[in-house]
């Protein structure tokens, strides 16, 4: 066993001797109280406009659907 092993074992010994076994109760209580008024971060789901393994039929159907819906999104008069 060399000096490095001794040092590493010494560090582990110090940590295990020093580590507190319990956190003060109020730490958890305070955190949970804060959480009561903390909203969770919302995850935005990104829907790809085209899937990589999209087959031709599905791709055509998607394009058809997009082109059919276009007039609804398009302000009147643009294509006149």
């Amino acid at each position: 066993m060399n000096a490095n092993d001794n040092l590493e074992r010494g560090i582990a010994d110090v940590y295990h001797a020093e580590a507190p076994h319990r956190a003060p109760d109020w730490v958890l209580a305070n955190a949970l109280e804060t959480i009561e008024s903390t909203p969770q971060r919302r995850v935005l789901i990104r829907v790809p406009w085209r899937f990589p393994d999209m087959n031709n039929t599905f791709a055509k159907a998607t394009l058809d659907a997009r082109s059919n819906s276009m007039p609804l999104d398009t302000p009147q008069g643009i294509f006149r």
Partner: protein, 185 residues
């Protein structure tokens, strides 16, 4: 069981989260206490990590990785707090002096000596030592907790040990100046 709780908490169930938090708080506090070597700062870091966990839980993709993810959060909280504290601490420079390095078991087995040496390390140095020697994480797990590449984690661990060795050597010589924190007291 835990995965189910994580999934429920992820979808906004505060009761499920409180069960998870109760199961993790002692471990998180121990990590913070050892990394920061300060009771009050460790309490702050633990609270902050738990609040972050609740807030960001919906972003956790794999519920099985909840524990590893918590380690990331406590490491971040300790780092944030450590940055504020750094201005009050002098860092130990790594100047090796092999001739005066404490030799073998007699010097290194001395817990008090090591404890004093650890106090002279920076928070990032302390943190990687805690993850490795207290939690027993592997280099890849440590790298994951620190959000750095494995090679960087190994290198950081090496330099942390070197810094500790230098602090021990300096302590034995009695030539290390007091930290600014001690001088301010």
């Amino acid at each position: 069981m835990q995965a189910e709780l994580v999934d429920r908490a992820r979808r906004g169930d505060r009761e499920a989260f409180s069960v998870l938090a109760a199961g993790a708080v002692d471990r998180l506090y121990a990590i913070a206490r050892l990394a920061l070597r300060d009771t009050e700062l460790a309490e702050d870091a633990t609270q902050e990590a738990l609040v972050r966990a609740w807030r960001d839980l919906p972003t956790l993709r794999d519920v099985e990785r909840f524990d590893a993810w918590l380690y990331r959060l406590i490491v971040r909280s300790c780092a944030d707090i450590g940055r504020h504290r750094r201005k009050w601490r002098a860092e130990v420079s790594i100047v090796r002096d092999d001739a005066s390095e404490p030799d073998g078991a007699a010097g290194l087995a001395d817990r008090d000596l090591i404890e004093r040496g650890l106090r002279r390390l920076t928070v990032p140095q302390q943190t990687i030592l805690v993850l490795t020697y207290y939690l027993g994480l592997s280099p890849s797990e440590t790298a994951d907790a620190l959000e750095i590449p494995v090679g960087t984690a190994k290198s950081r661990l090496h330099y942390a040990i070197e810094a500790l060795r230098a602090a021990l050597a300096a302590d034995e010589r009695g030539t290390v100046g007091d930290t600014r924190e001690e001088r301010m007291a």
